[in-house]
């Protein structure tokens, strides 16, 4: 998830796209990735090289390319949509690619980048998500067993505050800086004119370049990435909610996808010459009336219904008390006999 927009936040988009590329390289297909980007970099009028997003100085690596599938772009990247994706409370009209169809055996990797503060993350310069909301969303996911294990990586200023409030089991979190520290960007490119990447993500990507689908590197190595000398901020991590020892957790458990496979040893025997017989179940004899165009979707469920006319109630306790107080004070101060001047 990239939570920033505007040209000067180029590095956040480059961060997100680079992580997206690494994850795809290690084997996760687009159908298993939900990418949320403001996507206003490649075709921005200020981009000297249109249709590209570079992640390295001297324009070495174009991470935008022609194989990027952005699921939520531009103004769709909102806190509400993000939480809807996580908890699954999505309107029924949402297509498959915009949903998180995970189950209790899925390992989920969440990477967020943008501008943040102590306990919140700014979304698109207009709203915020707090660490409490994020923790509640994860708890909702756990209740419905929407994940087996979850790895949360955040690259923002004061990123560690975002994982302080997690309380659901099986979550491991990594952040680029502690509370009170800022995450710094890595290098500006003079040709493009903005900073291209953030330091933490840059070093994480360097680390990921050496991972291939069969590698056995574990999480402890990821925790060592970007020490203070290189990163200026102190990366932090949190593993107390995680049941397994990070030593035993492979990087490819989250970044790549290695499936459990079994050799098929049984076969069934089919009778070759059996002609296809009529299915035993009676087919529906009634011809369903062809649906009219307007009736195809349950519109009433999708669009909010008109609010019911509320009956008028006399003003209740608090307002009544407040008004009584104000009127009493007014009359006490000015006296009743002054009323005739008003009326």
């Amino acid at each position: 998830v990239c939570t920033s927009r505007f040209w000067f936040n180029y590095r956040h988009v480059a961060n997100t796209l680079s992580v997206y590329r690494s994850v795809k390289r290690l084997g996760i297909p687009d159908s298993h990735i939900v990418l949320m980007l403001a996507d206003d970099m490649a075709c921005n009028p200020r981009n000297p090289k249109p249709a590209t997003v570079f992640s390295h100085k001297n324009m070495e690596l174009n991470v935008y390319g022609d194989d990027v599938e952005v699921d939520y772009r531009s103004y769709e990247v909102t806190v509400e949509n993000f939480l809807r994706v996580l908890t699954g409370r999505i309107p029924p009209s949402t297509p498959r690619s915009k949903r998180l169809l995970s189950d209790d055996r899925s390992n989920i990797l969440i990477y967020m980048t943008g501008h943040g503060g102590n306990g919140f993350l700014k979304f698109q310069d207009s709203e915020e998500i707090t660490n409490v909301e994020l923790a509640d969303a994860f708890e909702q996911m756990w209740q419905k067993r929407r994940y087996n294990e979850l790895l949360f990586i955040i690259d923002t200023c004061q990123g560690a505050s975002m994982y302080e409030r997690f309380y659901s089991p099986n979550i491991m979190a990594l952040a680029s800086s502690q509370v009170g520290e800022d995450s710094l960007s890595h290098q500006p490119d003079l040709g493009i004119g903005v900073h291209l990447m953030d330091r933490y993500t840059f070093y994480v990507l360097e680390f990921l370049e050496e991972i291939h689908p069969a590698s056995q590197t574990n999480m402890n190595d990821l925790f060592q990435v970007c020490p203070k000398s290189l990163c200026v901020s102190t990366p932090g991590h949190r593993t107390d909610l995680f049941q397994r020892d990070p030593q035993n957790v492979l990087i490819t458990d989250f970044f790549g996808s290695v499936r459990k496979v079994e050799i098929t040893t049984e076969t069934i025997s089919l009778d070759r010459d059996l002609a296809g017989f009529e299915s035993k179940l009676p087919k529906d004899e009634l011809e369903a009336e062809p649906l009219k165009y307007a009736e195809q979707l349950p519109v009433a469920q999708i669009i909010h219904q008109k609010p019911k006319q509320k009956d008028w109630h006399p003003p209740g306790g608090f307002i009544l008390g407040l008004w009584a107080l104000i009127i009493m004070v007014f009359f006490k101060t000015y006296g009743i006999k002054h009323m005739k001047h008003i009326f």
């Binding site: 908890t87 509640d136 209740q143 067993r145 496979v261 469920q301 101060t333």
Partner: protein, 499 residues
């Protein structure tokens, strides 16, 4: 996770053929007894299984049927005499010396819901074997653990449990033909005919469990992610077992899936290796080539490698025309489909003989097994979902529950209770339907878009907004109030002074 106590009742009828009645029966036939067994899944969840058994002797027609030459014919004849409903089992006990069962086999399990058993030494031995047989044909502790796998610690799950496909209202099955080398092989597969003939009967039988939709596709230039090794001894190419997990992902990106449906997808891939990599065999852990040349991945699907024979004369022009033998392919794919649903025949004791279900793909009692597991899983899911919804409502006090969400919740609760009641009396079919309805309603209620907790402000945020507004306004009011009280007190004292 919510606690659950479920009672599962299996009605069993044991029919004794003449000469097979054990000597130490407690009473005269017919009589009935009930045996209960507890399967405890974890601290808060336990399943009690009740085997309600009726023991009786054969009727004349059944005796005639049991006089057939082979067990298969006997079973077919007996099936016509039963009116077995879903979940009920019938066992026929034949004398120990009967020739109906082959030598060395003491139990023959038919493809409907009945079995033939050899009479044992006495009642106790009979009972043990009966219990074993009943468990095989309905549910065992491990199949229940598989169904409730999210409540069981990971270490206790067996391989069957890991394979288990979660219960869902529908499944999408996709058959794909991968041809990485169209210049050398022009592959033709008559998938539509194969689906109608071989796959559709199996899916029709499974239609009680879920809705199935089938589609197929052909992908060209789709390669496996792994390069196979050339083995000089057999002059063939080998894919070792530990490289198999890496095969699936590069292909999956190209597979695609239907955009509209949210059902889990099962992919069955048929891979025709390139001419330069033919023949290609899959090696198991011991290095021996696998006879089916196929492997599967739980909750995903299966892949089979189809080798094209080298043409007799080296001069034949490329591309070679290949007509895929769909029967061989479907035998493997349907076996994989059974395994993916958790129906394996591996763990049975050797003296059990199972009748092959033929083109139907699965026996009636295997369908029952699926239904028992799915019903239990559905009920457990409903209770977890509703408990979690209640906890959410407790936490956010001012969340608004729309009328339709409320009605879904009521419906889910009613359906779940009905399902549990029907399970306790042994009506598997209606219990399963009720549990499906309960799951649909509870999921609809839980995932309703209006329940997003973001939309409802927590109390501390409300204070943060209203205090800066009201506090400055309240200061002059409170001070004036204090002044009023002081003046009132003074006036009360003054009259006494003015005396």
């Amino acid at each position: 996770a919510a606690s659950a106590q479920l009672q599962l009742a299996v009605p069993v009828v044991v029919v004794f053929a003449p000469g097979s009645v054990p000597g130490d029966l407690p009473g005269s036939l017919p009589f009935r007894d009930v045996q209960e067994m507890e399967i405890s899944v974890n601290l808060r969840t336990s399943i009690t299984s009740r085997y309600e058994t009726i023991y009786r002797s054969t009727t004349a027609q059944e005796e005639a049927a049991l006089g057939a030459a082979t067990a298969k014919e006997a079973d077919a004849a007996l099936h016509l005499l039963q009116d077995a409903m879903l979940g009920a089992l019938t066992m026929y006990v034949v004398p120990e010396t009967s020739s109906l069962l082959p030598q060395g086999i003491s139990v023959y399990v038919g493809k409907h819901r009945s079995a033939l058993m050899r009479a044992g030494a006495g009642l106790a031995a009979l009972r043990t074997r009966l219990r074993q047989l009943t468990q095989v044909m309905s549910f065992t502790a491990s199949s229940i653990a598989a169904a409730l796998s999210d409540r069981v610690p990971d270490s206790q799950l067996g391989p069957d449990a890991r394979r288990y496909l979660k219960s869902s209202l529908g499944y999408e099955i996709t058959f794909s033909l991968l041809n990485p080398d169209p210049k050398s092989h022009a592959v033709d597969w008559d998938i539509e005919d194969a689906v109608n003939r071989y796959v559709q009967p199996v899916l029709d039988k499974l239609s009680l469990v879920a809705n199935f939709s089938v589609d197929s596709q052909i992908l060209y230039y789709a390669v496996l992610g792994v390069t196979p090794r050339f083995d000089k001894e057999s002059s063939s190419f080998l894919l070792s077992a530990h490289s198999l997990p890496h095969v699936i992902n590069p292909v999956e990106a190209r597979l695609g899936s239907s955009a509209a449906s949210l059902y889990p997808v099962l992919n069955f891939l048929l891979y025709v290796p390139e001419r330069s990599h033919s023949p290609l065999y899959i090696q198991d852990k011991d290095g021996a080539p696998v006879s089916t040349n196929a492997f599967h991945s739980p909750r995903w699907g299966g892949i089979m490698v189809y080798n094209v024979e080298d043409p007799a004369s080296p001069q034949t022009s490329l591309p070679l025309h290949v007509d895929v033998d769909m029967v061989r392919v479907m035998e493997v794919f349907l076996a994989q489909l059974r395994l993916l649903f958790g129906l394996s025949r591996e763990e049975l004791p050797p003296e059990f003989l199972l009748e092959s279900p033929g083109n139907e793909g699965l026996a009636d009692w295997e369908l029952d097994r699926l239904l028992w597991a799915h019903t239990v899983e559905n009920i457990a899911t409903v209770s977890t979902t509703l408990t979690s919804l209640a906890q959410l409502l407790d936490k956010i006090g001012n969340i608004v529950i729309k009328d339709d969400v409320a009605s879904e919740v009521y419906r889910a609760v009613a359906a779940a209770q009905s399902a549990m009641a029907k399970l306790a009396t042994g009506h598997l079919h209606s219990a399963f339907q009720a549990s499906k309805e309960a799951v649909t309603s509870s999921e609809r209620a839980f995932f309703d878009p209006s329940l997003l907790h973001l939309l409802y402000f927590p109390d501390d945020q409300k204070f943060a907004i209203y205090i800066p507004l009201f506090l400055p306004m309240a200061v002059p009011i409170l001070l004036s109030l204090a002044k009023i009280v002081r003046e009132a007190r003074q006036r009360k004292k003054e009259p006494t002074k003015m005396d």
